[in-house]
Structures are given as C-alpha cells and as structure tokens.
C-alpha cells in the first residue's frame, strides 16, 4: 500500500502541474468578461465559475476576423487544408526518400545521407529570411503554397526514421517482389508503405500536431485575413496595442482550436508512446 502511494503521489502531482494550464483556460473561458479580466490581472480564480457563460464559445467563434463566423470558418478551412496536405506530403516524400537511402545502392548515397542529416542541425530561424525571399520571388506570398510545398520535399528526421525501418526489412522480401515483377516504385508503394504503418502513424501524428499549431510559418507568409490559419487568427483577439480586452473569448477560441489535437492524442496515444520509444532506441 505504501509502495502504491509513493508511486502514485508523484504521478498525481505531475499530472496536476500539466493539467493546470488547461483547467485555467477552461475556467477563464467560462467567466464573464469582467471576472475574466480581473482574474488575469491577478485576481482570484475560482475552481469552477459560479455562473458558466457557455455563450462565450459562440461569441468567440463569431469574433474571429472582421466578419462574424466567416473569419473562423476561413481559418478552420485553411488549417485543415494545410495540415492535411502537409501530412500527406511529408509521409509520401519522407518514406520515398527513406526507401531510396535504405535500399538503393548508388554512388554518393552515404555522403548525401550525411548531408541530409546535417540539415537537422540548422535552426529554422537561419533559413527563414532566404526562404521568404525565395517564395516571394515565386509570387507565393499570401498563398498556402509556402506552407504546403516544402512538405513534399521531405524532412530529415522522418526520412531517417523511415530509412531505419526500411533497412530492417529482410532482403529476401524485396527480392521476392523483384521476381514477382516489381520495380523500386512498386516495391515502395505496394510492399514498404503497408508494412511501415507504425512509422507512418508517428510521422503523420507529429506532423499534424506541428502543422496545426504552427504559428511562425503562417504568420510570415499569410497576410490577408482570408488566408490565415487558426493559430494566426487567434491573434486577432489582441487589440491594436497588443493587449487583451476579451481574454475569456480568447481562451474559448483557443480551446476550440485545441480540440483536434486533444482528440488525436487520445485516439493515437499508443502510437505516441511507441513513437517516442522508437525514436529513442531505434530511430
């Protein structure tokens, strides 16, 4: 019994620390404007609002952008389009490149692989300005293209993960496929992709989370209200001086924005944990 308490106590404590921001957001999102403002200014926060204002949620979604509802729906649609395309692009390109590095012997493959890995060391801030200039010269600024197209050119970390998986597939399987009449492209599509579902899940889940929550990319490339994503659109709750008038609405909008990530986490929890383990041990 004692052992159980000593084991669970730190876990409960840790969970409370992690859940605190979520509880805080939820409580504030249900307060009246006055009480929410007072709470954020250092006032008392109650465990649960005495009079929950559920209408805050509809108000918040209406207040996205300048036209009621349209701003929210635009941002939601943009976020979905960008995220889905980026996930597809990332899975296809990373697995294809990973397959090539794992299974095709060609001159300079090791050098290229090393070169690709070094791109992991580059902080994104370094490439931000050159990339912006590049996309501007293509006329892609204020379109979704700069956010989506790069995903179709792979990501060093996921390529590495796919490569490690493909390298562990027995050679005989590929030889059997060659005798069955498959070329590399067919082997990748019909054999390797269906076999590496766990890796695809990890790549897709992490890419989804990163893209859905990405603030910097859309902020740099998307200028007009119609093209912004949810993460950026939340910013419209700030007033012209950068302060917050309606913190309760911002919290309500933030929670709505968060819902897909929370749902994804619960439905794919197994893959998350597996994925982190995989990354640590096997890559």
């Amino acid at each position: 019994m004692k052992l159980k308490i000593s084991r669970y106590a730190p876990l409960v404590l840790g969970a409370m620390v992690m859940l605190f921001p979520l509880w805080w957001m939820t409580t504030i999102s249900l307060e009246t404007a006055a009480r929410a403002g007072a709470a954020t200014a250092g006032g008392k926060v109650t465990l649960w609002p005495s009079d929950p204002q559920w209408s805050n949620y509809t108000d918040a979604l209406k207040e996205f952008g300048s036209t009621p509802w349209v701003g929210f729906l635009d941002a939601l649609a943009n976020s979905i389009v960008v995220t889905v395309l980026v996930v597809i692009g990332q899975v296809l390109s990373c697995s294809l490149v990973g397959y090539a590095f794992a299974r095709i012997r060609f001159r300079g493959s090791k050098v290229l692989f090393g070169l690709m890995l070094t791109t992991m060391m580059l902080p994104p801030q370094v490439t931000m300005i050159p990339l912006f200039l590049f996309f501007r010269s293509l006329g892609w600024v204020d379109t979704l293209l700069p956010l989506v197209v790069p995903a179709f050119f792979g990501n060093a970390f996921y390529i590495f993960m796919f490569r490690q998986f493909f390298a562990s597939v027995p050679e005989a399987l590929i030889e059997a496929a060659r005798i069955d009449g498959c070329g590399h492209f067919r082997i990748w599509w019909s054999l390797m992709l269906p076999m590496c579902k766990p890796v695809i899940a990890i790549c897709a889940i992490f890419t989804f989370l990163f893209t859905w929550n990405d603030f910097m990319g859309p902020l740099i490339y998307l200028h007009s209200e119609e093209s912004s994503t949810l993460a950026v659109a939340l910013n419209s709750f700030r007033n012209q001086y950068g302060g917050l008038d309606d913190v309760h609405l911002l919290m309500a909008a933030s929670i709505v924005t968060m819902i897909p990530c929370v749902l994804l986490f619960f439905s794919a929890q197994k893959h998350f944990v597996e994925g982190l383990g995989k990354g640590a041990v096997k890559g």
Binding site: P170, L173, E175, R178, I179, D180, G181, R186
Partner: protein
Amino acid sequence: MAKVVLKNVGKTYSGNVRAASNVNVSVADGEFLVLVGPSGCGKSTTLRMVAGLEAATDGTIQIGERIVNQVAPKDRDIAMVFQDYALYPHMSVRRNLAFGLERRKTEKIEINRRISEAATLLGLNDLLDRKPGALSGGQRQRVALGRAIVRDPAVFLFDEPLSNLDARLRVEMRAELKALHQRLGATILYVTHDQEEAMTLGDRLLVMHDGVVQQIGTPDEIYNHPANRFVAGFLGTPPMNLFEGGVSGLEEKEMMTLGLRPDAIRLTLNMKETGPTAVIRAVEFLGDCSDLHAVLECGATVVSRVSGKSDFKVGDSCVITADMNQAHWFAD
C-alpha cells in the same frame, strides 16, 4: 518447363572476392538438381545468378533457348522459394499467391483458377484468408511453395527452403517436395547444405567447395564414387574415414589418401586378429545402429558403424579390420 545451362559462370565481388568460378552444368528439362556444399561455398550465389538477383561476372546463363545474363529477374520465367519464406506480411495468403500474377496482368479468372489449384495441391484451402503471421512454419513454407507454383514458371529455384523447419517437419516437407516434383515434372535447382536433403531429393547433385564445382553426378555416383577427398568427406553421416599416408609398392612413393566409410570398418575384441589396435573412446547408440569411435595408436580417430546395439564399452581395446573392396583412394 525448360533446361538450364551454365557455361563458365563466375562471380567476383568488389575487392576481388571470388564467390564462384567456372561453374559448368547443364540441367535437363524436368530434372531436379541439388547444389550442395558447406556454408560460403558459392551455391547460393550460383542460384542467385540464375535468378538474376546477382549479375554473373563471367560466363553465360541459359534458360530454355535464351541467354538470360541481361534479362531482369521478372522476365526470366523463374520462381524462387526463399529460406525465410519471404511472404508479404501485410497480405493474406490469397493475395500473396495472386500478387505476382497480378503484376503480370493475368486475367482474374485465371488467377483464381491457379490459386485454387495450388491451394488444393498444397492443402492451403482453409488458410487462404489468413495473414502469414498467423501461420506455422510449415504452413508458411507451403504458401511460399504455392506462390512459386501459381506462377507456372520454366524453372523453380529453391534456396535452402527447409532449413527453418524443425527436423520432423523437414522430413515431411522433403517427401512432399519430391512428390510435387514428380507431379509437376518441373525443372528445379535446389540449394542446401544438408547432405541428407541433397541425397534424397536430387536426381543429380552438384557439390561445391570454395566457389568451385567438385563433382556433378547422381546421388549414387557421388556417394559410391566420390571424385576427391572433399566430396568423400562431405557426404555421408558419419563422414568417411580418411587416412593419409605414403603407399609402398608403387614405383614412386606417393602420398595417397585412403577413404573408408564407417560401415566398411569392423572392430573386434578378438585381439588375435591381425590389424591395427585401437581403444574405444565413445559409443553412440542410434536405435537401428551404433557408431563406435576408436582412437588408433598413432592418434587418428576411426568411426565404425555396426548394426543394432553394440557390446563395446568405452576403454575397450580392439582390433580394426576393413573391407578393402569398399576402399576409396584419392591422390590429392
């Protein structure tokens, strides 16, 4: 079905490592040829060159009337069965069987006909909708066989297909393979390091060592007339006793090797008989026969096989006699 002809076939890997050299063999239409030899002797490399999975660096490979050196594996009209089955893990048995045919754009009706034919032949009918992961080793091997059979290829290539099975299943599958060969009348090239498998399955054996063909012949020829010391020592359990020494009576005193199979050697406790004496070191009872290991005065070990249970005990002194009609002489 088709014949297979290898002419001076060789394989040199980068770094000048020779895996096989000068392999010459002609496999007749419908013949079962077993390539046998110890690990690393080049038998698998030779088979893989026929499959097109490795490019031959020398010589020509002919399947049917075609030289296939430059032909891709899929166009060689072959089917291969791998040691670890190489079944597609995410596909059902049915899809595994159909996959190669679908790639060849075979008609759906024809695919189904061939699958049901092969499934009936191999007893796979109840397993068609299962994934390979849910099958036992023997069943997986049957599916791998089925995948080769549905292709109806000119030549079947087997790369140690039974070595992952347990001993009993291996014997069962061996008999099935033999029956299957007779039924299909297929040309088969079969690689194994297991001499028993080689002897029981092959119409002819090709014995390899260090990348070089040592002897090609029927199991009877290879067993009773081994071409050299290697073949003599490799085939047969327990292996042939080999004694090296100078032979007097010849014009020039020459070093020769005398080979005697264990059943050609007799040990007797009657010390009055003439012959070298030895001491029994081990007695192995195998049920229908016993193997006696004896050490000669010079330190050499002799193995004798006698039928039934032996009365010898470890430490007994005995006299060795041999049936010299069964002696093999090797000059190398």
